[in-house]
Amino acid sequence: MAVDEQDVRQSPEDATPSGLGLLKGLAVTMKAMLHPSITQQYPEEMPDLPPRSRGVIALKQENCTVCYKCSRDCPDWCIYIDAHKETHPPASGGKARSAKILDRFAIDYALCMYCGICVEVCPFDALFWSPSFDYAEYEIDLLTHEKERLEEWTYTVLPPPLIEEGAVPAADDALAEPA
């Protein structure tokens, strides 16, 4: 509405010429100076990051079924997966059981754009976000983390934040609840 627009765009004649705003501004900067600053002195002081920070992706090998969903959905093809199939002879007759063995799982963090689609699509909770971020390297090859290193990152994964009080739990969370 036209009236609202007029209200927002105050003309110079309407502005109060009291100069009170000038003093208010001075008070604001003075208050900011007297309060402690919010700077965190990294690396002397490690930042206290929230659990959902996207620092690095951790792999829990135990949970990986080599379904390749993550590597196929990765927009910049930074996940390398090699696997082979092993057949175990049955203990007491019947069909041999087959298992997929993960030979290589690597994420090239030089390519990764931290979109988190792999974490999102993983159907078996093998991939997690960790807030760790200090893994810069002098050589670009070293940014490719193999599965052993990715496994180590799982120890830095934080427990998920509590659901806010009164919030409705997500649909799949309700399914995961033990009956």
Binding site: T29, M30, A32, S37, T39
Partner: protein
């Protein structure tokens, strides 16, 4: 006998004109080279904390106290670039022309009724005339750089300095009328009962605002507005020459804070009941307080537009200063 001979020997040395001149020059230079460092460091830290940052924390280990020294060393190491199209001589002279007036200004600043370099009878007149010289340095820099941003910045600076010179001088004139003397020490001594800031508060504000504009400090930093004309007249400067311009800016803050405290805050005079603290410390404290206000204003206010900037001077400050002079004259004659 030996003691007497020693005293006469010392007296002989003290009366040596050249020695005294050398010592005084050294004192002024050392003060001029260190006090702006203090103001510069204060600006780093105060500005940072006003923006909820920490500012320099590493140079010199303790809260970055050596940051300005490190900056100076960096400036010395830098290549001294003179643009191919520049007017070499004018380009090289400009920083000196901008800097020297502020050094010369300290000649008449008294730090007590004994500690001063020279008690000129025309002290405040000397101050006002010599600060106007800096604008020539800025104009020289802008013109000789052969760069459009430099020229625009220099012309803005010239227009601004001319506009704000007038309120500065008019405010000082009403002080001179009240004190009845042009001498800096005379003006301080005239404030034995009350500061002139109490009798001429309007003049004090006019003087502070005009000083900010003289120094092209925010919110009057249109001539060096980095978002539109890079760094104004100093765009082409690097290394030591650029450092000299910076030194002129911070030296200028100290200089004009010193002049303002002499004119309005009783200079080296102690606050009543606090006479134990020696006069030079009072002077330093007043300079520090005014410098803090300069930094505080920088942290608070956005830059004025060019036309607003001219309006503030011609339509507000100068008429106010003229009214101030009239009031002082009437009171002076009537009382």
């Amino acid at each position: 006998m030996i003691a007497e001979a020693g005293v006469s020997y010392v007296n002989q040395w003290l009366s040596n004109y050249w020695l005294i001149l050398a010592v005084k020059t050294a004192v002024v230079l050392i003060f001029f080279l260190t006090a702006p460092l203090g103001v510069g460091y204060a600006e780093h830290k105060v500005l940072a904390h006003m923006q909820s940052r920490l500012g320099p924390m590493y140079a010199g280990r303790f809260h970055g106290w050596a940051q300005l020294i490190a900056d100076g060393v960096k400036f010395i190491q830098k290549e001294d670039i003179i643009p191919a199209a520049a007017d070499r001589w004018v380009f090289s002279l400009a920083p000196a022309v901008a800097l020297v007036p502020y050094i010369a200004l300290f000649v008449v600043i008294p730090f007590s009724n004994q500690i001063f370099i020279l008690n000129l009878d025309v002290g405040i007149f000397f101050v006002m005339s010599i600060t106007s010289v800096t604008v020539i340095g800025v104009l020289m820099a802008g013109w000789s750089s052969a760069n459009k941003f430099s020229l625009i910045g220099a012309l803005r600076a010239a227009a601004q300095l001319i506009a704000y010179e007038l309120p500065l001088v008019l405010a000082a004139a009403s002080i001179v009328m009240q004190a009845g003397t042009l001498s800096m020490i005379g003006i301080v001594e005239a404030q034995d009962r009350y500061w002139f800031a109490l009798t001429q508060p309007v003049g004090f504000v006019i003087f502070l605002v005009a000083s900010l504009a003289e120094l092209t400090r925010p919110p009057f930093d249109m001539p060096v507005a980095d978002s539109e004309i890079i760094f104004g007249a100093y765009t082409e400067y690097s290394g030591l020459k650029f450092a000299f311009f910076l030194l002129a800016e911070y030296g200028g803050i100290v200089a004009l804070a010193a002049v303002a405290s002499v004119l309005y805050l009783g200079g080296y005079r102690a606050l009543p009941g606090m006479g134990l603290i020696p006069p030079p410390l009072w002077m330093a404290a007043k300079i520090g307080a005014l410098s803090f206000i300069v930094i505080w204003l920088r942290a608070t206010y956005p830059r004025l537009r060019e036309d607003q900037l001219q309006q503030v001077s011609w339509l507000v400050l100068i008429p106010l200063a003229l009214v101030q002079i009239m009031v002082v004259a009437i009171v002076k004659v009537a009382v």
